[in-house]
Amino acid sequence: MSSSAGASLPHRTVSSIRAGDRSSSQALPNAPHTPPRTIVPSAFGSPSTLRADDDVVVIEVGSRKLRIGFAGDSAPKRIASFGPEQQRRAGDFRAWEADYQSDWRKRASGKPWGADYELWQLDVRGQDLALIGDKLERELRDAFTKYLLTDSRPRRLALVLPPTLPIPLISSVFDTAFNRFLSPSILLLSSPVMTAMAAGTRSGLVIDIGWYETTVTAVYEFREVQSWRTVRAGKLLVEETYEFLAHAIQGRPSTARTERTEDKLEDKAVSFEECEEFATRMLWCKRDAKEVPQDTTEGLPTLHEQDESETVAPAEDRSPIAVTLNSCNPPKTVEIPFAELAEPCEAVFFEPHLSPCCFDDHELPVPLLAYRALLQLPLDVRAICMSRIIFTGGCSNIIGLRGRIFDEVSLLVKERGWDPIRGKGVDQYKNNPKLRRNGSRKSGEGPTPVAVRAENPSTEGGETAPPVNPAHAPPEYSKVEEDVQKFRNHKPIVQGTLRVIDSLGPWSGASMATQLKMPALATVERELWLQQGVAGACRPSEVDVKAQQRQSMGAGGLIRGQASQASSNWTLGVWGVV
């Protein structure tokens, strides 16, 4: 993961960079202008590939949805989601039969809950990769013919992939693209980086609340620094919603979250579609900071300024909301108090009644994960990232969820500061005046708090008298410097404060990046893939950057390029190697 952050950037293959500065009419790297490539003969062989890159198709692949469109467009032309109807044979029209809808139990039997609605599982054990390819192909073909209205000339594709996607899944996507759609090359783009780009920034903490998992990725200068994950995401939410609805149907008050077993889902009280529909339409998230989720072993209870705006708290609103459920047997209209509609979110993303030590590493609540992510970052990266928090992903559309997560994160920051060391011992140590040597020493304990000192006085509170340490001294005021900055139209970088910014989403970012010919994280050529497959990918560090740069240097590069042809390495960028 963090290898991408290293100083060597070989995975940005030079071919795409070269494509950048050429005029768009001939920008394809394997046009005849590029002698050192092995692909050249085939490019001559089929003239259609020469025109192929007039528009690159940008595809964002997720577990549930597929966004497809041309580079340069502001929004994808087609947002496809997967479902059981998509997996039928051609010419199977049973979905139009009269009693089809009421019959979902039979269809859903024998498969894991909601499996039909996913393109893939992140757990690739036992998955049929070719089936994933088929699903993807059908959806892509559908999008190409119905929505993009393209002919079947091979096109270059830009793939936006989530961080740490398993390589078998990537390979399956590649197989489909290269074998079925004959794309000459695929550009790989990283989803969090593109999200940051679509927010207008070069760095950021991207919180992607997706289907299988919520990933928190720190992006610094267009590079993924590190990525953290938790399973608290859409899938868990829909399962929670199922339980919530099942309770509502039976008329029982929804009690505290019980132990969920697969058998409960097997009861099939409500169908997956309806659960999801309900989750997207009705759920909302409480946003009062009264319920501080984490037990606070240290630090005093803090006052939160968020509280005062509430007039009629929606959380206390018990007025019933009527929802008609059709998939239960018999169809029923349930009335759920409005306040209770916030409970699934609460249970899935925050779980406030449990102390943080209860959670395994893979199921940390989202705010805690985000806080820990920030905590683990190097200090200057943290300073930049914390003021560029970006929410994305399907579940971030839940009303109030982003705000709630942000509140909780800022609360955590307020309570704990940036000190990674916590616990009773530390508290005693801190509170023991004998052990305290001086005030400024305290801030030097953790490696981190230095970052926060000047920019974020709120986190440190008023405890430390700041300017003893010369490192903490504010920079001297310089008139000349300021004039120079003014001349350059320079504005100081916002850093050190917590701030959420709004992104246009990874697809739009990728669309922008591809149109601007920004070098992709990795470029995979068709010929090389067909020859070598996924096993041919090398570690980013193994690629000889110098050789490739030499190749790109114009006329002289021809001979040397030929010589180094054998080592035409390619990588999968941050997604690693087999």
Binding site: L9, I17, R18, D21, S74, A75, K77, S81, R89, A90, G91, A98, D99, Y100, R107, S109, K111, R125, A130, D134, K135, E137, R138, R141, T145, Y147, L149, D151, S152, D175, G200, T201, R202, F222, R281, Q306, P314, S319, I321, N397, I399, G400, R402, G403, S410, S458, P475, V484, K491, P492, T497, R499, V500, I501, D502, S511, L516, G533, A535, S552
Partner: protein, 603 residues
């Protein structure tokens, strides 16, 4: 209650080519390893992958030159005409690129029910009779116009959209939506954000909509790009357009600055003169104002909560409605906009191998005919299935049979097969070609899947006579039909129930068709653990999950191989020179098909 109709699906041979040579094979792939992907394994129509390669005969095309089936997955397509399905207006391919894939005239779909919307005058819309009573002399309605749906009575004034003139609705609407679009987004998005510590920049002229922000941001990046490439002319072979400050020593020096420059402002540019070009180091800045597309997220969604609370379930858009929208993110029904019609394309299809056109429509929009269309129906035999009732011990095929599935299954009537009771079926192969056809069939002895039914094809090899031209040989046909009919009747009459299907003999033969008998012994659908005695060590765990969808249908995978003497294809260069009229060439075609025979009853 829909009845089960026997069906035939054909697997396009292109399925094989793609699945072979998967590069993951050598690595320990997580796919199921027990099914090797070679020619030996029989095709399993139950496998989830098969759904993607099976097509009804009517969906398939056929390339004459390659003598190969072409399915929708293995043709190369070209656009012939792009048009709006609503107004049938033809759209040029260039405007397709600039204006998108939707009709830019006045064709809209209802966002609620996707019915077509009509433009109406707002005055006359509510009650035309009343209006006409007041002013009977004004035939031309004036004033603001709205889009109305005649199916669900939705109209665009519900979302506050009215038009000044009845033409060019698309541009008016996009102006409303992206230009002065404030009545929708302002109340939701312009409120004070509580959590923000930073000053919020909200220009009045700030781009609000997604599209406008995208364009603003793109312009910003472009400007940054140009500024950079202007200052760094010549650096790294002028790849400024692609370089964003990384992938170059500049990035390194910038980082060095960050750490070394104590008093320096963090943003480089200060003491970088000693290092490499300072222009390089003055990296592209970030967008920071609203007209660069930058926006601090508004986390206060109080308005949405209130709306949800007040209006409840019915005010929210259904998933389908939200998905039908052009832009993502509609939550409430008041966020739903009329949907401009998607354009549609007429396409010609080519064989991907020999590039011959196998399907080409008339280019005129209104004309639904085809210039060229080589359907597989004309080249490969069709298979029809019916039960062989005579003398058999099972009761077949009447709607009176009660459905054993308890009112659940999507197929009630039709052929209900009793488990473990042999049943015979007639498969009739009809030859559409003008050549005599030799057919070889192969089926696995038992159907794949959890419930293995036994299948026996009594006559796996036979000839079908050519399909003679009906006009020329009408007499023959008539005679033939008579003869065939007689023969059939005679058989029925003479032998009656004693006529048995014999192995190796065809059942019946007509002018261009042949019927053969297939005997099946349906498996029992009971899901139970196999007796412990029969289980061996190391057997995989038996799959005891409940019956899946369609698992009760007896589906026979059948490998069909056709051989015939055809004309030499004109495409081959060597043969064209010395081509004679009656040169014949042996041709063959082989494919898998899945034959759905009937539903096995569960008891």
């Amino acid at each position: 209650m829909a009845s089960f109709a026997p069906y035939t699906y054909i697997q396009c041979p292109c399925h094989e080519s793609a699945s072979q040579g998967r590069p993951l094979d050598e690595t320990p792939s997580p796919t199921s390893q027990d099914i090797p992907d070679d020619d030996d394994h029989t095709f399993d129509p139950r496998a989830p992958r098969s759904n993607y390669s099976l097509y009804p005969l009517e969906y398939l095309l056929y390339c004459d030159v390659c003598t190969q089936i072409r399915c929708p997955r293995c043709v190369a397509e070209e656009l012939v005409t792009v048009y709006c399905p609503n107004c049938l207006f033809e759209v040029g391919s260039s405007s397709l690129k600039t204006e998108g894939n939707r009709c830019t005239r006045s064709c809209f779909q209802c966002p609620i029910c996707i019915g077509p919307l009509a433009v109406q005058s707002l005055e006359s819309a509510p009650d035309p009779s009343l209006l006409s009573a007041e002013s009977p002399t004004t035939p031309v309605p004036a004033g603001p116009w709205i889009l109305t749906c005649s199916y669900c009575n939705w109209n665009s004034s519900e979302i506050g959209v009215k038009f000044d003139k009845p033409q060019g609705i698309f541009s008016q609407l996009s102006k409303l939506r992206h230009g002065e679009d404030h009545h929708h987004q302002q109340h939701a998005k312009h409120s004070t954000s509580s959590g923000d510590l930073s000053p919020k920049k909200s220009d009045a002229a700030a781009p609000e909509s997604h599209k406008a922000r995208f364009n603003a941001m793109k312009a910003f990046y472009n400007a940054q790009n140009n500024a950079l490439s202007a200052t760094t002319a010549g650096s790294l072979s002028g790849m400024g357009a692609g370089d964003y400050g990384f992938n170059s020593p500049g990035a390194l020096s910038r980082i060095m600055n960050l750490y070394s420059g104590g008093n320096n402002n963090n943003t480089s540019g200060g003491n970088s003169s000693t290092l490499r070009p300072k222009a390089k180091a003055s990296a592209m800045r970030e967008a920071d104002s609203a007209n660069e597309g930058f926006r601090v997220a508004d986390l206060d969604e109080e308005a949405a909560v209130t709306k949800l609370r007040r209006e409840g379930w019915d005010a929210t858009a259904t998933g389908e409605q939200a998905q039908a929208q052009v832009e993502e993110g509609a939550r409430f029904t008041s966020d739903l906009w009329p949907i401009p019609y998607l354009l549609r394309a007429k396409r010609s299809k080519r064989c991907p191998v020999c590039r011959h056109i196998i399907s080409k429509p008339e280019s005129k929009v209104g004309n639904t005919r085809w210039r060229i269309r080589l359907v597989a129906n004309n080249s490969i035999p069709s298979i029809s299935i019916k039960p062989l009732t005579a003398g058999l011990s099972f009761s077949a095929s009447t709607a009176t049979i009660p459905t054993p599935t308890g009112g659940g299954g999507p197929g009630g009537g039709g052929y209900i097969l009793k488990p473990l009771q042999p049943a015979q079926f007639l498969l009739t192969f009809k030859n559409p070609m003008f050549e005599e056809l030799k057919v070889t069939l192969a089926t696995p002895a038992t159907t794949p899947g959890r419930f293995a039914s036994k299948v026996t094809v009594l006559c796996p090899e036979f000839h079908i006579d050519a399909n003679t031209d009906t006009d020329m040989y009408l007499e023959d046909v008539l005679k033939d039909g008579e003869k065939g009919g007689n023969a059939g009747r005679r058989r029925q009459g003479d032998e009656g129930t004693t006529h048995q299907a014999e192995a190796g003999k065809i059942w019946e033969r007509g002018r261009n068709w042949v019927s053969i008998v297939v005997e099946v012994v349906p498996a029992s659908l009971r899901i139970e653990e196999p007796p412990a005695l029969l289980r061996k060590e190391g057997d995989p765990e038996p799959d005891l999950s409940p019956l899946r969808e369609d698992e009760d249908i007896l589906e026979i995978p059948m490998f069909v191989r056709l051989e015939w003497e055809g004309d030499v294809s004109q495409d081959q260069v060597g043969t064209t020179a010395g081509k004679e009229k009656d040169t014949k060439e042996k041709k063959e075609l082989a494919y898998w098909c899945a034959i759905g025979i009937g539903r096995i009853s569960q008891e």
